[in-house]
């Protein structure tokens, strides 16, 4: 009897804990939103909510990119600088073509966007090659490619923003609307749905989970692990490139400093959302949750006029707390 009751208690307690852990972040998110709203009611205004959604749609792309790599037990520190260099590259190509022939706007946009995405593929292939074939620690690889991308971004731009991105481009990708919904939100939503379907419904997508949760099993099962690893990094960098193009349309210029804090924020968002650093756990819902969390946090701190430097400190604390929660969750 007593044995049974003990075992019931033992069985229930972790289950309750697991339930709490599972809903901890959404609860925190709601509490945080309410807390900010109590201090500053404008946070719940329609304009600001739309603002938060638009901002989150950029971050969620980067968080999803980071998530794909983290699924395979990797990291991409170079993401931010990849964003910078793609932004500069796209702006340079676009302004260059438009300057030489003002009529060829469509051509300019198509060519520059493909150049940006091609650059993303290149960075991802480089990272993936070093990680999978040379077997260098992903941390070191992306730390190295971070510097390489930074060098490229600031060299080709001369360290200055590239102005003169055609207004039509911004109108289309930034301030454009479809059925009243801003373009960035639509683009992000489409990307998220595609990646979600790939990750959950295709053999290809499931491969990343296997690779992350048990690399040995993946290998024994005959999965081409190296290829999958490389794909993960390419997907990550291509998503980063797309995000960079959207951001370039928003700022209307190619910015070599665009990606400064994006790597940290994307990792923070992914981990806060519940993507495990030990690989194999996570998905688009997690990336979405994390991105909204980080955006609400920074938006709330902006509106309550908290100093930018303090925000940096808070973000650092949140990252550590999130990893700690992740640690408990997977114990």
């Amino acid at each position: 009897m007593s044995d049974a009751s003990v075992s019931v208690q033992k069985g229930q307690f972790p289950r309750v804990m697991a339930l709490i852990m599972r809903w901890l972040m959404p609860i925190c998110l709601v509490l945080m939103g309410l807390g900010f709203a109590a201090v500053e009611p404008r946070i719940l205004s329609e304009a600001n909510l739309l603002n938060i959604t638009t901002q989150a749609s950029y971050l969620v792309i980067f968080a999803a990119a980071q998530m794909v790599v983290i699924l395979t037990r990797g990291f991409d520190l170079s993401l931010g600088m990849c964003v910078s260099s793609v932004s500069v590259l796209v702006a340079l190509v676009m302004t260059g073509i438009v300057k030489s022939d003002p009529q060829s706007l469509t051509l300019a946009i198509v060519l520059s966007v493909s150049a940006g995405i091609a650059f993303g593929v290149l960075v991802g292939a480089f990272n993936g090659f070093c990680v999978s074939v040379l077997r260098v620690n992903p941390f070191i690889v992306t730390l190295g490619s971070l510097n390489i991308c930074y060098g490229i971004a600031s060299t080709i731009s001369g360290g200055r923003p590239v102005f003169g991105v055609p207004r039509e481009f911004s109108n289309m990708v930034y301030s454009g609307e479809l059925l009243g919904i801003p373009a960035p939100i639509i683009i992000a939503a489409v990307l998220l749905v595609i990646i979600h379907l790939i990750l959950t419904r295709t053999v290809f997508g499931r491969g990343f989970y296997i690779l992350g949760s048990n690399p040995r099993a993946a290998k024994v099962a005959g999965m081409p692990s190296r290829l999958y690893l490389t794909y993960a990094y390419i997907i990550c960098s291509v998503l980063a490139a797309i995000g960079a193009i959207l951001l370039t349309a928003r700022t209307g210029s190619g910015e070599p400093n665009l990606g400064g804090s994006i790597a940290l924020e994307s990792i923070a968002a992914a981990v806060i959302g519940g993507v495990s650093l030990r690989g194999g756990v996570g998905g688009i819902p997690a990336a979405l949750l994390g991105a909204v969390f980080v955006t609400v946090l920074s938006n709330g701190m902006n509106l309550t006029r908290i100093d930018g430097n303090v925000q940096m400190i808070v973000l650092g604390c949140v990252v550590i707390a999130a990893v700690f929660v992740d640690r408990i969750r997977t114990k």
Binding site: N147, G151, N309, M312
Partner: protein, 341 residues
């Protein structure tokens, strides 16, 4: 037939293996250093100018101290991304404390310097302690912890100064220590040499050093053998923080003002690069401070020579990134060779 084939194929293979083994124990580094110095002194006579050599030595000393700390953390199987931010933090804290205490007691310059330096190094110790505690007790990935403390430390440094350099340190400290030459060498060289020797002695002769290797080599085994792994993990991170803070103090004394932009990501990357080039394994358990110092020297010479031939600093970061990846790839290749043998 088969055995014959193997025997035939074995001879050159063996020599290659031997070469690889010599390189992986000695490191490619001394050879590379000699080659690069020889090449530079032939093609770029300015390299051997006395000012340039002093410059290289000074840069090497800063980097060597930082890299020694990074090495300790790498040996226990960790990472410290926060070293660059700690440099900035200790710089701003020290300068602020010195400027303020000098205002209160303008006559007690010695005491002011002491308090300032202690405060600067104290910051590093605290950050290192936080890193160590999180890694040891919360068992959080060192990468994420130090990414967090990086953000926190540089946030505090910027908050403290608003990004404006802090002036007002005692003149004696700047002119008599930071920019001074003793017996023809910059003071930082002596400090770096002392610290490197201390770390070397710790690694070589003390239980602490042995345990740090043991933990990195096999955490579980050392735990089972009764090593209080947590204590030594924390010690390693704290030492790393303290060494980074000392680098910050020396840099501040040299620059003459406390700046939140000192250190930063570039120095963090350089410290990892110097350690990795010197054969410190990212998997822990392997690393020698004397080689790391050579690694720092190598990096400083490479940077210096690129400056001399006027290669843009932006391209230099590209080169640094390539060097780091290449060094780790080489180490990884050597490891796999060893395993195959």
């Amino acid at each position: 037939m088969v055995s014959n084939n193997i025997a035939l194929g074995h001879l050159p293979q063996k020599e290659v293996n031997q070469l690889v083994r010599v390189i992986s124990t000695m490191g490619l580094l001394p050879i590379l250093l000699i080659v690069i110095v020889a090449a530079l002194s032939i093609f770029e006579p300015r390299f051997l100018g006395i000012f340039n050599i002093l410059n290289v030595l000074r840069e090497t000393s800063f980097l060597a101290i930082l890299a020694a700390g990074q090495m300790l953390v790498l040996i226990v199987g960790g990472f410290d991304l926060s070293v660059g931010a700690v440099v900035a933090l200790s710089s701003t804290v020290m300068a602020t404390v010195m400027a303020n205490t000098l205002g209160i007691m303008p006559d007690e310059v010695g005491l002011v310097i002491f308090i300032g330096v202690a405060a600067g190094i104290g910051c590093g110790v605290v950050v290192g302690l936080v890193n160590g505690l999180c890694v040891a007790y919360l068992r959080v990935s060192p990468f994420m912890v130090t990414l967090g403390t990086l953000s926190i430390a540089s946030g505090i440094a910027l908050l403290l100064t608003n990004g404006i350099p802090v002036y007002g340190m005692p003149k004696v400290f700047v002119n008599g220590f930071g920019r001074a030459l003793w017996l023809g060498l910059p003071t930082t060289v002596y400090v770096a040499l002392t610290l490197v020797i201390i770390v070397w002695a710790i690694q070589r002769f003390t239980v602490l050093g042995r345990y740090i290797y043991a933990i990195g080599g096999n955490l579980q085994a050392s735990q089972v053998s009764g090593v209080s792994t947590k204590r030594y993990l924390i010690t390693a991170y704290t030492m790393c923080g303290a060494l980074a803070a000392i680098t910050g103090v020396l840099l501040t004394a040299r620059v003459g003002s406390g700046q939140a932009t000192l250190g930063g990501d570039i120095m963090m990357l350089q410290s990892i690069a110097a350690a990795v080039i010197a054969g410190v394994s990212l998997r822990g358990g392997i690393g020698r401070v004397e080689l790391v110092t050579l690694g720092a020297l190598f990096l400083s010479i490479v940077t210096n020579s690129m400056n001399l031939v006027r290669i843009d600093s932006k391209i230099q970061t590209i080169v640094l990134g390539v060097i780091v990846i290449f060094a780790v790839a080489l180490e990884e290749y050597g490891n796999r060779r060893k395993i195959r043998e």
